[in-house]
């Protein structure tokens, strides 16, 4: 999949200015960068939640699924209802099993912990098939065990359905674990992109190196 070049301005402040990008199908593209580098805004614009300055379609077509950083908890429903809302229960059960929340199926979403809510949200977005799946820090609230299970699930879904995954993450180790490609953002600009292994082990740009060093890697 391809995205057009676009920019985003709040008032007079330009927060994002990106060139045309390639999001290969069947691969996970991780977006890394420090806080405030425009990662989430990038995700929202691609998902169509926010508009770019250009006000035109940015994607070359296909359906888009987007999991926001703060996914709405749907306090008034049970986990099962949230997941199977019009979809097949077998898949819901499989997803819940994969993330170890099948025991919570009958519970009200209100009673879930932060990590459980995050797992439920991930299950929910994986219920449907999309050509492009945008996940904004899906594992931030999870512990290590759940994070690894979630990563495996994302990986498998990507492989099985052949969709393009755009994974916003602040965890470089996560990017290293599951990403095929990496985009590095800083102050709203793309400073480096390429195969995950290459960018993360041998960054070509000084800024990328400084950013990676800063995070102790």
């Amino acid at each position: 999949m391809k995205t057009m070049a676009f920019s985003k301005t709040y008032g007079k402040r330009r927060v994002l200015e990106l060139p045309e990008l390639e999001l290969p199908e069947g691969q996970i593209t991780a977006v890394i960068g420090p806080n405030g580098s425009g990662k989430s805004t990038f995700a929202k614009i691609l998902a169509g939640i926010e508009r770019a300055d250009e006000k035109k379609a940015l994607l070359s077509g296909g359906s888009v699924g987007y999991l926001p950083q703060k996914s709405f908890p749907f306090r008034m429903s049970t986990v099962k209802n949230i997941l199977t809302n019009g979809n097949d229960p077998a898949r819901a059960a499989a997803l819940m099993m994969a993330l170890d929340i099948e025991a919570l199926a009958g519970q009200s979403a209100k009673k879930l912990s932060g990590g459980e809510t995050a797992r439920m949200a991930l299950c929910r977005i994986l219920m449907s098939r999309y050509d492009l799946l945008i996940l904004d820090e899906p594992t931030t609230a999870m512990d290590m065990e759940s994070t690894l299970a979630a990563e495996k699930l994302i990986r498998d879904t990507c492989g099985e359905t052949g969709c393009a995954v755009l994974l916003i993450t602040h965890s470089i180790s996560q990017a290293r674990r599951i990403a095929d490609r990496v985009l590095v953002l800083q102050r709203g600009e793309l400073i480096e992109q390429g195969a995950a292994e290459a960018v993360l082990s041998a960054p070509s740009k000084e800024e990328t190196r400084r950013f990676l060093d800063f995070y102790g890697l």
């Binding site: 939640i49 359906s63 699924g65 987007y66 999991l67 709405f72 009200s108 209100k110 929910r124 449907s128």
Partner: protein, 228 residues
């Protein structure tokens, strides 16, 4: 207080026909007006909270002003409009239960709109981000939003019922506190107080509070079940 409580119990036990008439008028007015206000106010409140449209801010300021309208002013307005010389005289509504209900709906609806708007404005953006991310349409989005609102709809209803049952200025003005017809608990309490029958006034007040307590207990239990 003790004598008032005893009087209140005596009054209930004696099943005084006038008291029963006052109670049934009160129930009719309060329940109808609060439910009507809910039916009008909830959709408007959700709309104001969830949508952004030109004039929304102005309408919200107007709504907040209406929340602060003194009931007696509302009553006076309706009295003038529906008087024998008022523009709506041919409807013959002055001093009827119907007009009391209408006046209370006008008083209460802004409160419901305000409560719902505050809640929805807080909830809708995050919900919308998630539902759009899932690729849901507007109808499904609103369905989910309303489902999330259920708890606050109950809260809004409790508030509006409380306002309806406690309100005296408007119902006294447009109802005229006519015995056997438009006299409700609050106007009866006012009448007895003016007469100096303080004990009877407090006795009626206690009955009113007890009824209000019962309604609140039932609704709170329903609300509790909802959150389970």
């Amino acid at each position: 207080m003790g004598s008032s409580i005893r009087k209140a119990i005596e009054l209930i036990l004696s099943a005084d026909p006038e008291l029963l008439n006052i109670l049934s008028t009160t129930a009719k007015v309060c329940l109808t007006s609060s439910v009507l206000a809910l039916v009008i106010g909830v959709p408007l409140g959700i709309l104001f909270g969830a949508e952004r449209f030109p004039g929304r801010k102005v309408l919200l300021v107007l709504n907040r002003t209406l929340i602060g309208m003194p009931p007696v002013v509302c009553g006076l307005l309706f009295y003038m409009l529906f008087s024998g010389v008022g523009p709506f005289r041919h409807l013959h509504l002055l001093f009827t239960v119907k007009l009391m209900i209408i006046a209370q709906v006008v008083l209460i609806t802004p409160i419901i709109i305000g409560v719902m708007e505050t809640f929805v404005a807080d909830t809708a953006p995050a919900l919308r981000e998630t539902t759009r991310g899932l690729g849901f349409g507007r109808i499904k989005e609103y369905k989910l939003l309303i489902n999330e609102c259920l708890y606050s709809i109950f809260s809004a209803y409790l508030l509006s019922f409380a306002r309806a049952i406690a309100e005296v200025g408007a119902v006294a003005m447009v109802g005229g506190a006519i015995a056997w017809k438009t006299n409700v608990m609050t106007t009866a309490i006012m009448m007895y107080t003016n007469r100096g029958s303080f004990t009877l006034g407090i006795a009626l007040g206690l009955i009113l509070l007890t009824l209000s307590l019962l309604v609140n207990v039932v609704l709170s239990l329903m609300q509790g079940r909802l959150s389970r």
